[in-house]
């Protein structure tokens, strides 16, 4: 029952999101189930989804990027620092993006050439980058950013928050890259069978380095949105984001063993996390309990997917 297997993996998560929305809509129709709240949820999920889209490239190659939250934090600090020091926002943004891609390339080189498992490599760079952020900021938030910077995380175009537009653009680009391009095919193939990919003439190291670079790029964008939304660059702003990003990708049905995954799933995975956070806050559930519930929901969702698969396979 191959069709059902793929079907559950692919569409199960949609029913999951739908179920959670229905639950909160019944519990709290007047607050939760409103257009303005959905825009709020989208805005809240945008940072996580940006990170998750980058994370997805890495996971598709059977790797993992634990450093993306740390990269986002460092990029936020660099953008703020440079902008404040030079008064040139554009320069700050370019520098931030370059730093993100640079960190990603370093991750990729460690994984592709030093052959260190991605988990260890990015755990180490996560620690190093977190430390670098603290050194760079002296542990203090960076204030006094120009008001033009606020637009990225707080402004709107045609009544749509700009962060949602950024997320939307990233989603479409990632979708096209993964589904329609030669490069996208190579990413899936390397994750599916690295030896067969090499035998098909694919340059494995280029693919590996590039996925980490993409993760770095999207982490940089997420970091900029985050700093802009807060209006300051907090030295620890990015911490913990990597786990939500991984959760979104996995909830979305991407296999941690690589080679399988669907971009729409990742978006929905990100929304599940955001809807849970939002709905529970509306229901006045304490933030401590929210974390516990989130953990349980992630576990249940992944278990349902794998049980469903087994059931259909038999």
């Amino acid at each position: 029952m191959a069709l059902s297997n793929g079907f559950i993996r692919k569409y199960g998560v949609i029913f999951g999101l739908f179920g959670i929305i229905v639950f909160f809509a019944i519990e709290s129709p007047s607050y939760f189930f409103t257009a303005s709240n959905f825009i709020l949820i989208s805005k809240q999920s945008s940072i996580n989804i940006l990170l998750a889209l980058g994370q997805m490239f890495v996971i598709l190659t059977a790797g993992i990027d634990l450093s993306d939250g740390a990269m986002a934090g460092f990029v936020g600090a660099v953008v703020a620092g440079t902008t404040v020091a030079t008064g040139n926002l554009f320069l700050g943004l370019i520098e931030g993006i370059a730093v993100g891609i640079g960190f990603g390339i370093v991750n990729g080189i460690i994984v592709a050439f030093a052959k260190i498992p991605a988990f260890i490599a990015t755990l180490a760079t996560m620690s190093a980058i977190t430390g670098m952020t603290l050194i760079y900021t002296h542990g203090e938030p960076i204030w006094n950013l120009p008001s033009s910077f606020d637009f990225i995380g707080q402004g709107s175009l045609l009544d749509i928050p700009f962060s949602i537009i950024l997320m939307g653009i990233a989603f479409v680009v990632v979708w096209i890259v993964l589904a329609r391009t030669k490069y996208g095919r190579h990413v899936y193939a390397v994750g599916g069978n690295i030896k067969a990919s090499r035998a098909a003439g694919i340059k494995i190291s280029s693919v590996l380095i590039s996925v980490y670079a993409i993760s770095g790029l999207l982490s940089a964008i997420a970091g900029i949105v985050l700093a802009s939304r807060l209006g300051t660059a907090e030295p620890t702003a990015g911490s913990g984001y990597e786990l939500d990003a991984i959760a979104a990708v996995v909830l979305g049905g991407t296999s941690l063993f690589g080679g399988e995954g669907w971009v729409v799933g990742t978006i929905i995975g990100g929304y599940i996390i955001a809807v849970l956070n939002n709905g529970m806050t509306i229901m006045n559930i304490s933030a401590y309990y929210q974390e516990v519930v989130k953990g349980i929901v992630i576990l249940l969702a992944v278990m349902l997917t794998s049980f469903g698969k087994k059931y259909w396979n038999e």
Binding site: K182, R185, Y188, G192, A199, I202
Partner: protein, 501 residues
């Protein structure tokens, strides 16, 4: 003489394909009973049934006259039967004695708490090793540090320590040097003298004639005969193994012209798996490279395709080429259909279409974007040319049969108009019908001027398909044969030549 094991009317099929038919076998206690047959004859399946790894569809097994039903290898072990696989079931990070007692550690009590009794286990291990005169294995060394031969002895010791009375060995000498093989045979003779029964699968008939008491020949899932070694000659065994008329198995070989023109000149290439290999491949030729498992022919093919490091020179159409990775080989029109298609040939999670396109995306895409139209057209033409049976080009390849999977692997290279196709065991694990189609494909390709390097341990295939045969042994080319005037024995003689030298 007592009958220790009896197989009665055993049948076994996998998804509709019968692999064992009406098997009746009697094994005498304390004898070395060899099982021979071509690849796919059903040897391994029969051994797995005896060792409890597979259950027969019907039929009975008797051990010491009592009927047994094995649901798992543990059941078989309790009846005194152990199977020693080609791939060992040892934990490399553990020591010899820890492996031997894995899962049944000896313990001692200390204030009512159980502790592992290392000393007792080491002593018991020494005892077992001593029974067959092994002194050079340190029971404290980790299994991963042992030689292949010593790993095998550890595996045997493990089986004996569970009081196995029947040892089944699947190709035990495949990875051993001549010297190690001698050591193993000495041990097997000692075990025989102690009344242990050994069932021994091997491709190497010389070995069987050296050590076995009885031989059973399987062919296409049927038991052809069981003979005492002193009642048969090697020629008789070979003819019983081959048996069938070859007319129906192979398509009519077309009269094709092997041009004088040399397309590929291989000069003195060497690697860790082969030494000083030189040969010329002519345009439109099917060049067979035969040899026993581990002779280095697979590695030669993989090296020419850029998957392995090697030294030496390659000339394509008289021009020197350098190949350091598959991309180089692909650029030069040299393609490999690998021995293990799941490992090197396919990405199992991906579809027929995606696998087909993987090395060819540059041809189907503009500015990095894949053209769905071009891609589909190409996949469809390969699928229809090869008669690949699929439900849709979007079907995942892991749901296809072996034959259809192999056609996907072949099809992906056709797109690029190959100059040279290296086919490594292209018919392994696929059914007779698909084999026939692959033979036809090979003939069609050579008639179009493609040159083929046909690597195989299936002697009958090499003989039927090739225009010329090179035989490899121990990493060297040990001879060249004209298939028109050669037999399987001629190949075998060259294939075992130089073993141990």
């Amino acid at each position: 003489m007592t009958e220790i094991l009896k197989i009665k009317d055993v049948f076994k099929s996998f998804s509709g394909v019968t692999v064992l038919k009406d098997i009746n076998l009697s094994v005498q206690e304390g004898k070395l009973h060899a099982i021979v047959g071509e690849n796919g004859a059903g040897k391994s399946t029969l051994m797995k049934i005896i060792a409890g790894e597979l259950e027969p569809d019907s039929g009975e097994i008797y051990v010491n006259g009592k009927m047994v039903k094995f649901r798992s290898p543990i059941d078989a072990m309790q009846s005194g039967i152990s199977l020693i696989h080609q791939e060992f079931s040892l934990v490399p990070q553990l020591t010899v004695y820890e492996n031997i007692f894995l899962g049944r550690e000896i313990s001692k009590k200390f204030f009512k708490i159980s502790f592992v009794d290392k000393k007792a286990m080491k002593n018991a291990t020494h005892e077992v090793l001593k029974t067959f005169g092994i002194s050079d294995i340190d029971v404290d060394s980790k299994v991963k540090d042992l030689s292949v031969a010593n790993k095998q002895l550890t595996e045997i010791a493990k089986a004996l320590s569970t009081n196995s009375r029947i040892l089944i060995m699947d190709e035990p000498t495949a990875a051993l040097t001549l010297k190690e093989t001698k050591v193993l045979f000495d041990i097997l003779r000692k075990l025989e003298a102690q009344g242990v029964t050994i069932i021994f699968i091997s491709h190497r008939l010389e070995e069987i004639f050296e050590i076995a008491d009885v031989v059973t020949i399987l062919r296409n899932g049927e038991l052809v005969a069981t003979k005492k070694m002193n009642e048969v000659t090697m020629e008789q065994v070979v003819s019983m193994m081959v048996g069938r008329s070859m007319k129906n198995r192979f398509p009519e070989k077309p009269i094709h012209e092997v041009k004088n023109e040399i397309i590929l000149d291989v000069k003195n290439i060497s690697s860790d798996a082969f030494k000083n290999v030189s040969f010329s491949l002519h345009k439109g030729e099917i060049l067979g490279i035969a040899g026993l498992v581990g002779c280095g022919n697979t590695q030669v093919g993989e090296s020419i395709f850029g998957l392995r490091k090697f030294t030496g020179e390659l000339y394509l159409e008289s021009k020197p080429i350098s190949i350091s990775n598959p991309t180089d080989a692909i650029k030069n029109g040299i393609f490999l259909v690998p021995e293990d298609r799941h490992d090197l040939g396919l990405v199992l999670q991906l579809s027929v279409k995606e696998n087909h396109s993987l090395p060819n995306l540059d041809l189907f895409s503009n500015f990095g974007f894949v053209s769905a139209v071009k891609e589909k057209k190409s996949v469809r033409s390969s699928v229809s040319y090869l008669n690949t049976k699929i439900s849709s080009i979007n079907q995942r390849v892991d749901n296809l049969s072996g034959g259809n999977q192999q056609k996907v692997v072949l099809g992906k290279w056709l797109v690029r108009s190959p100059k040279i196709l290296i086919l490594d065991e292209p018919t392994r694990g696929i059914d007779v019908g698909a084999k026939y189609e692959i033979y036809k494909f090979i003939y069609d390709q050579v008639s179009k001027g493609v040159s083929i390097i046909y690597i195989s341990s299936e002697l009958i295939e090499v003989l039927n398909l090739s225009d010329r045969i090179l035989v490899m042994s121990e990493g060297r080319i040990s001879g060249e044969l004209d298939p028109a005037n050669s037999t399987q024995e001629d190949i075998l003689k060259l294939a075992v030549k130089g073993k141990g030298s």
